[in-house]
């Protein structure tokens, strides 16, 4: 048995409460002297068992109820034992073999020797390593394809450089047992995470350089038509497009005080929603309003962070302008794009009390929760996402939210505010994949994970009903 939120196991300590009450009620209480108690035992056999709270069945009911609730909150799941030795399929992210070192390489070698089939996570699931080592944006789709292609009972073993777990898109329900190997990324990676403002003579590009030890954000100001530190600025009409090392450009509108342009594809749709939410919080902190322009699937998602309306060009062409939220006072960003289907914003609401600012965006595909808490002069953002009913801390890896966070940190630090971005430890890909998914094709599955939470909630409800009935009988 495993747990998605093991911290909730501390809730099991609440079991001690009814036990303590039971023990205390046995030894304490009002003492009444009787001439004789010889008639009481026979009475006890009839109704004395209904004593409360020293009633033993009631104690067991309450204990089981608390245990069921605690386990359900902890997200218990159960791994069915494999019933066959059908072998395994090894799915490799391109380039992961060369990146693996040490124990990861040793384990990867063992997996290769044990695998019945070795495929690469690239279009067509080729058996040989493709030329590019870039992770396909449709990695989840490829994994689903492999899941469908693999014979029943085969275990899927996936080795990635850790980036697959950062994909916050809608994950497929897999029928095969999946084991994961996260190979730590090596070397530095650079990404253009923001651009702007364009003052008319120069534009600012914000580059994040990610290394194993962390990340560094650098700001480069360059006039259009020039290249500096790998950044290329090209003016096209009223926009200035920036590109870094040939990566897709971010467009910056003219006369924009501070424009932040993001790029998110379909696989990053949920992440983009979180990103946008985080930036909205930042926008409020910076005193600016945020407007978002959404492009169709596969295209860029851009954010306008300004007091004024975004350029008309953003709303024209193939873009869709998403306006402010329907709930007054709580800005919500509308639909992100997931696999071509818009995620409809269902509800916008303020977050938990006690936080300086919090908002939750709930969409059909998941939720994003941004909490802004202030403790003294320290302001902290907590970014959490929810997919398939499971909350998870945002992975601050080489992802858009992290870029946003880094940018926020840099921008707010520049403005003189002390900022601490809450950096959650990135969980391994294997941990990420412990989100249980009930098999949709049980016929071929010999090993699968079962989510016990829903069953535990049912058990807890039944126990609560039984507890109420018994307590009512006791009076």
């Amino acid at each position: 048995m495993g747990f998605l939120s093991p911290l909730w196991l501390w809730a099991l300590a609440a079991i001690a409460l009814p036990v303590a009450l039971h023990l205390l009620s046995r030894g304490r209480g009002r003492r009444v002297q009787l001439a004789s108690t010889r008639l009481l035992p026979s009475a006890l056999s009839l109704r004395g068992r209904r004593l409360s709270p020293s009633d033993m069945p009631l104690l067991f009911l309450r204990t089981l109820l608390l245990a069921a609730v605690g386990l359900a909150l902890a997200g218990a799941w159960w791994q069915h034992a494999a019933t066959s030795t059908a072998g395994s399929w090894l799915l490799l992210e391109p380039g992961v073999r060369t990146a693996a070192t040490g124990q990861a390489a040793e384990r990867l070698g063992r997996w290769r020797s044990e695998a019945r089939e070795v495929r690469y996570l690239a279009p067509g699931l080729p058996g040989s390593e493709p030329a590019t080592d870039r992770l396909s944006p449709d990695a989840w789709s490829l994994l689903l394809e492999a899941d469908r292609a693999a014979p029943p009972g085969v275990e899927l073993r996936v080795a990635t450089r850790g980036r697959l777990g950062e994909l916050q898109g809608e994950r497929p329900a897999l029928t095969h047992a999946v084991s994961w190997l996260a190979v730590p990324a090596t070397g530095a990676e650079r990404a253009l995470i923001a651009a702007g403002p364009w003052t008319g003579s120069s534009v600012r590009g914000i580059v994040e350089t990610t290394v194993a030890a962390g990340s560094r954000v650098t700001t480069v100001d360059l006039p259009p038509g020039t290249t500096r530190a790998g950044l290329v600025a090209v003016q096209t009409g009223n926009h200035v497009s920036l590109a870094l090392d040939g990566a897709p450009a971010l467009a910056v509108g003219a006369s924009t005080l501070l424009t932040l342009a993001l790029h998110a594809d379909a696989a990053h749709a949920a992440s983009a929603a979180v990103w946008l939410a985080a930036c909205e919080v930042a926008g409020r902190a910076l005193g600016a309003s945020a407007t978002r322009v959404e492009q169709p699937a596969g295209a860029a998602v851009r954010l306008w962070l300004d007091d004024r309306a975004p350029p008309a060009e953003w709303a024209s062409g193939n873009g869709v302008l998403v306006t402010e939220a329907p709930s007054p006072g709580v800005p919500c960003f509308g639909s992100a794009v997931a696999e071509g289907e818009p995620i409809v914003v269902q509800r916008c609401e303020e977050g938990a009390a006690g936080t300086a600012g919090a908002a939750e965006w709930r969409t059909a595909g998941g939720s994003a929760l941004i909490q802004e808490s202030v403790a003294g002069s320290l302001r902290t953002w907590h970014l959490r996402t929810r997919a398939a009913g499971e909350w998870s801390n945002l992975a601050l890896g080489d992802t858009l939210p992290r870029r946003c966070a880094a940018w926020l940190a840099a921008e707010l630090a520049r403005r003189g505010e002390l900022v601490a971005m809450s950096r959650f430890d990135r969980r391994s890909v294997a941990d990420e994949q412990r989100v249980p998914r009930r098999s949709t094709n049980a016929a071929g599955a010999s090993a699968r994970r079962e989510d016990l939470s829903s069953w535990l909630w049912l058990v807890a409800a039944a126990l609560a009903f039984a507890e109420r009935s018994r307590a009512r009988r006791i009076g």
């Binding site: 009620s25 046995r26 009002r30 009481l40 009839l46 109704r47 004593l51």
Partner: protein, 301 residues
């Protein structure tokens, strides 16, 4: 005959009277209309009347002097002088300390003590011999001598200093005190009848087997009868210290059921062995309870 209620003393009022003799006198005068006289005609020294000799009369009872004067047979009748010892066995075990929950009702012991004092007063007033045996702390304290003029005083002194304690001892320890005199006697037992095994039952039945006339006055508190306790509590046996934890409301129905069968068992057992039994509750006026009891036993005219 029922006494007017204005003449009845509330048990709580009795409890306020410190002088036990006064209590006894007050109670007895509440129902005593005259000294007890056995109305049954019989031979004796105290002349009562003459009547005509009839078939079945003992010829030795014919008064020959009257025959000499009247030439008719008359039989001389006289009042009987009853000279029996009335033994009162008072249960002063710890269970008798149980009283009402109201705080105003008498405990079973106090009620029985007042009743004992009243009965002792009545017995001595009638000229009968009194013996008092108080069972307390597993022992028996006696007031038992033939000097009738002092027996009441000593009995009242004993009652005043008596405190309920311990449990009812075995029959072997009681009999040497209660049944040491030969001859048929009247034994009056005042008790709550709570026992650990059957020691009290065996005592009563043994006395009866010894051909004594035994009367049991079962003194119960209202709390014993109704079990008015509510909520969770630890119920403690006054004699054994045994505890039962439970909810008063939840235990009541079972307790009352068991109590009913227990009372019925006592009543049936005593009646089957010819032992008179009467239950009195400590919140009833004492004079009324005693009068009812004594009238039933024909100890009052």
């Amino acid at each position: 005959m029922t006494l007017p209620s204005s003449r009845l003393l509330d048990p709580a009022t009795l409890a306020g009277i410190k002088d036990l003799r006064l209590v006894a006198k007050t109670v007895v005068e509440g129902f005593l209309s005259g000294l007890h006289v056995d109305p049954r005609p019989s031979a004796g020294a105290e002349f009562s009347q003459y009547r005509s000799y009839g078939p079945g009369d003992d010829p030795r009872r014919v008064d020959w002097r009257v025959y000499a004067r009247s030439d008719r047979f008359f039989v001389r009748e006289a009042e009987t002088e009853r000279d029996v010892t009335i033994r009162i066995v008072l249960d002063a075990s710890a269970s008798m300390a149980h009283g009402g929950v109201s705080g105003q009702a008498l405990s079973a012991f106090d009620y029985a003590r007042f009743a004992t004092a009243a009965l002792a007063y009545l017995v001595t007033t009638q000229g009968d011999a009194l013996a008092l045996h108080a069972v307390t702390g597993g022992a028996v304290l006696d007031v038992d001598d033939r000097r009738r003029e002092h027996s009441l005083t000593r009995a009242l002194q004993l009652l005043e200093h008596l405190n309920p304690a311990g449990a009812w001892p075995s029959v072997d320890e009681i009999l040497p005190h209660v049944a040491r005199h030969r001859g048929r006697q009247l034994v009056l037992v005042l008790s709550d009848l709570w026992e650990q095994a059957d020691e009290l039952r065996r005592t009563v039945l043994t006395l009866r087997a010894l051909r004594h006339e035994v009367l049991v006055l079962h003194v119960m508190s209202r709390a014993d009868l109704e079990f008015p306790y509510q909520g969770d509590a630890v119920f403690e046996d006054r004699e054994t210290g045994a505890t039962v934890a439970g909810n008063g409301g939840g235990l009541r129905a079972g307790y009352l059921t068991s109590l009913e069968s227990w009372l019925e068992d006592w009543r049936r057992t005593l009646l089957e062995h010819g032992v008179a039994y009467q239950r009195i509750v400590t919140d009833e006026p004492l004079e009324q309870a005693l009068r009812s009891f004594l009238q039933r036993r024909r100890l009052l005219p």
